[in-house]
Symmetry: C2
């Protein structure tokens, strides 16, 4: 029983920040680990996921089906180039620039993706409630237009 | 002075829910009202906006410049077809289906847009922190894939 509680404690630590959920999300993508992926989402029927150029997927069943289709080809070679955060009380919005690489018939191809990841603190710890991704620009230096670059 | 307090009271009511901010956001779009639009955003340098197919705009200056460019052609004829909400403590994520109509050389054109709107409760009341929009499908009935439609 002590072991069981200790195990639950370890789980709680795993989910103790939005950043840890985000790290686990991209690990699940890289590892094509569907159970790890689905464990990250909040227990809410209206969690949503938009893959680049795709429809909006609402709820665990639709989100799982889409990731299973992606993972049928193996893990996604994705790395985070940049993360910016808007932190609220029990809620974080992360603006993420993803670098995705794939070997195609034309060799190694690189694409950038603009993702908005939203996390809420729930009774189960931090969980993802939204992943909304759009195709980015080709040049990773141009994907964000910041106030400073407009003013100065 | 009583009038001044009364006016402030009305402002506070205006910002008292995420839904009211959302209503004001789409009114500002329809009315091409840049001051009304910018008053809705949280006072945070990392608020972000992604227009369909566009880059990510970070901060008030970049967001304002993009809306001013849109509004130079007048208001946007946009209506909300559907809104679903994930409600957290001090944070709401709205999945919105927008119907946008415009008269072009080919007549009246209709497009659907998938938007994720995120609101946080701040010391100034509810404010928008993210508007992330993507091109939707042509048929408004197909823009969301719900769990029930996959299972049954």
């Amino acid at each position: 029983m002590a072991d069981s509680r200790s195990h639950k404690g370890a789980q709680a630590v795993l989910m103790s920040t939005a950043d840890e959920i985000e790290t686990a999300f991209y690990e699940a993508l890289q590892q094509a680990d569907i159970e790890k992926m689905m464990a990250l989402w909040a227990d809410d029927e209206d969690v949503a996921c938009v893959h680049p150029g795709g429809p909006r997927l609402i709820g665990h069943v639709a989100i799982r089906a889409a990731f299973e289709a992606v993972f049928a080809n193996g893990g996604v070679h994705v790395t985070l180039v940049q993360v910016r955060r808007v932190e609220g009380s029990g809620c974080e919005v992360h603006h993420v620039l993803e670098k995705v690489q794939a070997v195609t018939g034309d060799g190694l191809r690189t694409a950038y993706v603009l993702a908005s990841n939203v996390y809420q603190r729930t009774s189960q710890g931090w969980r993802m409630v939204l992943h909304h991704a759009s195709p980015g620009q080709q040049d990773e230096m141009q994907d964000m237009i910041e106030s400073s670059s407009v003013l100065h």
